[in-house]
Subunit: 308 residues, 3 copies
């Protein structure tokens, strides 16, 4: 396959073979990383990191990926104190960054804003989250983690757990999984079910979907947990009545399959108890760490730097 994307805006634009291409290159990148702390693949290149909305994990892992490749980073971690506060548009800010860098990573609360920017600047653009809409590199590292653990994604029984209604990471992942032969178990409080347009889409594409509000994980290979936020419930009492029903703690361990893994986009609050961290099922910190080789691979792909 030849890589032909200029930008990474939405996981919806990835064909199955494009996803597999990224996962395969990420694995190569991980081997390069393990051989040596240093690489000079992107030596002298500058990444602009424009976070109009705060982030720790995504911002730091993009920075780390760029530094591991010998490149450098300019940018800002929040919009306070930037010219955005003076009324500059995101496009003008991006055009400035275009003049100072070789590639732009943007997080902006406005849906569609990153695509808009990508259509008006010449340098590659990566969407690091545009509001409730898309966060494609999160999905790619989620898939990379599954592939690394199980050797492939087809055939897996994957449980998406928690807030399936509002979670950006969940929706992007479901979107990507359409393209694979997986079985999906959707576990959530009734108030936070997966939007029916996504479920219908999945079913139409032949994905076996099972929706429930019962925390039965006994048949799952991958458990992808997310946080249930109090503010999502119109009635605080409803929140109180469901909040403890979807927490992963020691008591759920006996029901798990031998090789099951637990993932989470992080940060987690209490939805996975710390007592799980040291068990053989926990993979959420490895998952975060997998963001490095995946983002390194993407940076090289977009900057036309062959490493395989």
């Amino acid at each position: 396959m030849k890589w032909e994307k200029k930008d990474i805006i939405s996981i919806k634009e990835f064909s199955r073979s494009e996803i597999e291409f990224v996962l395969q290159k990420s694995a190569i990148m991980e081997k390069i990383m393990h051989k040596s702390a240093t690489s000079s693949l992107l030596s002298g290149r500058i990444m602009a990191s424009l976070f109009f909305e705060p982030s720790t994990r995504t911002r730091l892992s993009f920075n780390s990926a760029m530094y591991r490749l010998g490149g450098n980073v300019i940018g800002f971690a929040q919009s306070t104190g930037t010219s955005v506060e003076k009324g500059e548009t995101i496009l003008d800010t991006a055009k400035m960054a275009e003049g100072y860098s070789d590639l732009i990573v943007i997080r902006n609360p406005l849906e569609g804003s990153v695509r808009f920017v990508s259509e008006h600047v010449k340098v590659p653009v990566i969407n690091a989250g545009d509001g409730a809409n898309q966060h494609p590199t999160q999905t790619l590292l989620d898939l990379y983690t599954m592939q690394k653990e199980f050797g492939g994604i087809d055939g897996l029984r994957i449980c998406l757990l928690g807030d399936l209604k509002y979670g950006r990471a969940i929706h992007s992942l479901a979107e990507a999984l359409k393209q694979f032969n997986v079985e999906l178990k959707l576990i959530s409080p009734p108030e936070l079910r997966m939007p029916s347009r996504i479920t219908q889409d999945l079913v139409e594409l032949g994905v076996d979907v099972n929706e429930t509000s019962k925390l039965d994980l006994s048949d799952c290979d991958v458990i992808y947990a997310t946080r249930i936020q109090k503010e999502r419930f119109p009635d605080p009492q409803e929140y109180e009545s469901v909040k403890d029903a979807f927490i992963l703690n020691k008591e759920i361990l006996p029901q798990l399959k031998e090789n099951a893994i637990i993932l989470h986009p992080l940060p987690r609050i209490n939805e996975i108890q710390p007592e799980i961290d040291e068990t053989k099922y926990a993979r959420y910190f490895e998952q975060a760490r997998n963001g490095i080789p995946v983002r390194m691979a993407l940076l090289c792909l977009l900057l036309n730097k062959k490493f395989w």
Copy 2:
């Protein structure tokens, strides 16, 4: 010419031959940049970037310039959270930075503060804006842009447009243009005219100055637009009555000279309409981009690193 400045504090301290020297070296630096993304001219050197007042463009372009030269950057992007909040003086902060770096770039709201610092530390200091006073590297990149477009500055008819009373960039540019054989057209609302001390100075030095509040751009080679801020008007109604009279939009295009260019220090709000961006006259994004070679040249000059 031999470069003898330790610091860059005010454009007033630049002779014509010093300005020309910087512009000439900036052009060489731009060629070096185009040949290779990587340079190791300032490898191992550290720039302290002390922004007591926020900035996006200036801060990011200094950082980018330093990285393009192989150097590194330490510093802060705003004074909240620094020891300044504990009551440390700017001089103590700069003396600390002197111990940790090879060169200091400072933006501080207090006029004269950067000069004061430069007189008390041994490492080179660059003024990245001291309140309403000076921002010399902005002026140098403005001049570089004109020279690059027209092959020289002498003989140009330059229009300064908008808020000529308060604009730091405008005053510095006027100051520098005294040394060239240019004609100046000053277009502003009557309330925001260029201070008479500057106009008189220009006239005495033989610059042909024409002041007006009418937006006639038909005879200008360079149109340097700036923002008119509502808060500059004591009476909001006065603002309303003038605000639309100085906006550059499609309607003004027919009157422009064939080779005219439009500049702006950015960020712009609405004083240049986006419909101008794609026209052949727009040069404000190139102008911002020109900050890179100019600042790269200055960093090397101050750190005694010859590159020509």
Copy 3:
């Protein structure tokens, strides 16, 4: 001696020979620095700099040290805008950083928090200040400064001056000095005396301790001044009555020993008047600068990079 520490959490865990080992290696590092601006000892390595609480000096000098060694830095300068605000624990944040970097530097307001983190991550951890508790690299650079000035620490008569009750830097330094044959003079307002548990400890270990509230510095080799903060006094009038009694100004100079030096952890407000800065006694800016070789040495030691 063989270096065996994984982390640097508290100066209490340093034996005398470990302190001397660090000081000796810092001196070697300082020579390496003077030979060349560039080193590639930690090329390709990434330091995570997690400042949950603001800092200028400590943060910038760790960054500078890492860059001087060819490494890179990711992190944040304050907790606003990080996932900590969403409720993530410091341990989860550190585990994330562990996945993205080779070594973690943390400042956190909670006493004991950095030790807790160090026990749960595999990469080396440096405590850059945990509340009122410990700031070991400050003490090491304080000792390095004394050794550099006097060739050794044994035999020195050291005055600790100002707020001896609350100062973290003072307590850590006193802790370390227990291991040397020094004489201590403790000068403070009665309200801000050194806690008796520390004084007793010192005396029991054979240190000659002299407490007073009189500013007599005539017999001191080292004067280590600290700030007296108004908010430490329950009664503002008490503050007014003592505040001027402990200020170092020109009038105290005649009583000083010929070779005495004045130190201060900085930032200082008015407790050392600027008129002292240019005298032969002032060493506080050199002291800050000494943070670079000391931190460079520590970074290499923890990352198993031999440089001697």
